[in-house]
Symmetry: C2
Subunit: 369 residues, 2 copies
């Protein structure tokens, strides 16, 4: 029995006959990622394996599965927590994360909103009513055009004016100049309206870029900022707010990244962003990728359409030593074959060693001239 | 005509009668995010609006839409590029990003794999055959247990042994000790096998944590690392590889974040990670969220199940000034009402100003005692 667990609720498409096994598989996938038979450590079995709390049929073939996962697995780390909640199972299309509940210490480690409703109200000077807000856009306006638009909106008496989330540090509208001009615009408007509109610039880029933008914004007098957490990475959001000292508006852009097809995401974007090797679920394993998808990912990595170095495909997940010949045929020489469970499932160390040697030997033999 | 554009290919569910308008809407959504009638700047119309290159029917109700988007919109920024490709439309369930092609300068800015196949082969000392790899897991093993497993796998003659992506800096198996012990294990194994297995530790955490882990790993003698880019944020991957000096394996964990329901993602995770206000598409606008979903998000933000400060709901997208009464009824006082297009669509500045004032006045009047 795990005390004070992470509770994760999933919707799972299954059948009444299969859903029990599916829930058990989901439970293990998100922490130990091995079948129970492969768990040789008592500490692992007792402290790292969670519990299926409930399975409820919501409709035909549609189940709600409630899991309790050990908080210790999350290591009080914002990125690792996402792993526990939806790391691997995000790639299994029969599963959707529906809800979550975190234990107190983990919540405290994340910290939540540093300002929240109260801080935003204080900043805007508004109580007892909804706040009014608008946005300056489109991308492509010059700094004077942005400022004019901002001034006009501020004169309208809005509480808040934010950048469009697509406003980056563009050459035709640089971040620093835009922020300075828009702050000036809301300041001037305040002279005539008697009330200060909050201008909220958009921060976007890599962590170093966003940190620099946050610093500049603060120095210029900005009192709240916007970011797109799914674009920047949720863990970075959590790091950013630790020292930011002002409210953060979160934009949902890229919140639907799942629907990027696996070939463009893993085969193109990952290497474009710098990955030298990309792990992906091999066809026939416990994920849903077809043989065609796997071949497409491998081909995209090896023969990049863009002018970048080829990257190494790393098929993984459910590769059995016995199925190696077909895997070797599929991927050829430019691949890292990642075999996990079917080695680690060995009952003892000598068996593991011999299986591993067999794996290695099979691969070497396949490529012998 | 835009030269050297970003090409983005989407699969779109539509009807033959509607798909032309749908493609046009998608084109505008990803850059200017306004209807053409709202584009008053010639520079915006000429340089920031892309082109629908082709629409092909793939099957009944299933279309392939090929767009050319202006590279200048991406500002040579890794995060902003994701915005252009799949920022807003990731939230529209009738759209999937199917493929992409970037112009040369943008590819060069990203840089791609710094080591790739050639570097990994050099590092592993393997030519002409596939590389062999396995993984140390499960989470919960102690450092000596990890090292013993690693030694055993290395003795098997693998080319590469990687951490499970769920191995973080756990108290029961700290990062530094694990890496040191596993490096020792593969080193010892090399004494007896005569060949050096590559040990690849997993880096996970916020950017600062991952940067520290990368530094420690390098000092300990690690020659390749693994990260989960969707967990850490793709832009951070791109920043990390600039100075890393060794190959990066990318793990697909969290690559399916889209299938997190909107209420848990936007209503729970975003504020848990520190967002003080969360923008989400209001029901009835151009996104798919139902009124129930919107109410659930707002309720979750305001009355967090976890012990964190309440955060401000920011309904946005398609709110018309004329529809304000129903929006005000739905969200009540604790909300930031974000109105964009229906203000910005105004033909001139005075109209914009008067519309804005009407918006502000309507909201104020609604909350008058």
């Amino acid at each position: 029995m795990i005390e004070d667990p992470i509770e994760a609720v999933y919707r799972v498409r299954s059948t009444p006959a299969d859903v029990g096994a599916r829930a058990e598989a989901l439970l293990l996938e998100q922490t130990v990622e091995l079948p129970r038979t492969a768990l040789k450590s008592a500490f692992v079995r007792d402290r790292l394996v969670g519990t299926v709390l409930a399975i409820d049929e919501v409709g035909p073939g549609d189940f709600r599965v409630r899991l309790a996962q050990p908080a210790v697995a999350a290591a009080s780390d914002p990125a690792q927590l996402l792993n526990i909640l939806f790391g691997n199972c995000s790639l299994q299309p029969d599963v959707e994360l529906e809800d979550l509940r975190l234990p107190g210490p983990l919540v405290a480690a994340l910290g939540g909103p540093r300002h929240g409703i109260a801080g935003l109200r204080r900043l805007a000077g508004v109580t007892g009513r909804a706040l009014t807000a608008s946005v300056i856009k489109p991308i492509g306006l010059t700094v004077p055009e942005m400022a004019a638009l901002c001034a006009n909106l501020a004169l309208g008496g809005l509480d808040l004016i934010k950048d469009d989330h697509g406003l980056a540090d563009h050459a035709f509208c640089p971040f620093t100049e835009r922020v300075r001009a828009c702050l000036g615009a809301v300041g001037d408007a305040a002279q005539s309206t008697g009330r200060q509109t909050l201008y909220v610039p958009n921060l976007v880029g890599t962590p170093a870029t966003v940190a620099r933008q946050a610093r500049e914004a603060r120095e210029l007098g900005v009192r709240a900022v916007m970011v797109s957490p799914m674009l920047l990475g949720l863990p970075f959001l959590n790091e950013l707010v630790r020292d930011l000292g002002m409210p953060v508006l979160a934009h949902p852009a890229f919140g639907g990244a799942l629907r990027i097809g696996p070939a463009p995401l893993l085969g193109k974007l990952f290497p474009l962003y710098g990955a030298d090797a990309v792990i992906f679920p091999n066809a026939g394993g416990r994920f849903s990728f077809s043989a065609e998808t796997c071949s497409a990912i491998a081909a995209a990595l090896r023969n990049p359409a863009a002018a970048i170095a080829p990257a190494m495909p790393v098929p993984a997940g459910g590769i059995q030593v016995g199925s190696l010949p077909s895997v070797l045929e599929r991927y050829g020489a430019d691949a890292i074959l990642l075999v996990g469970g079917s080695l680690l499932d060995a009952p003892d160390a000598p068996t593991l060693l011999s299986r591993t040697r067999a794996f290695v030997a099979t691969v070497k033999a396949h490529f012998k001239p």
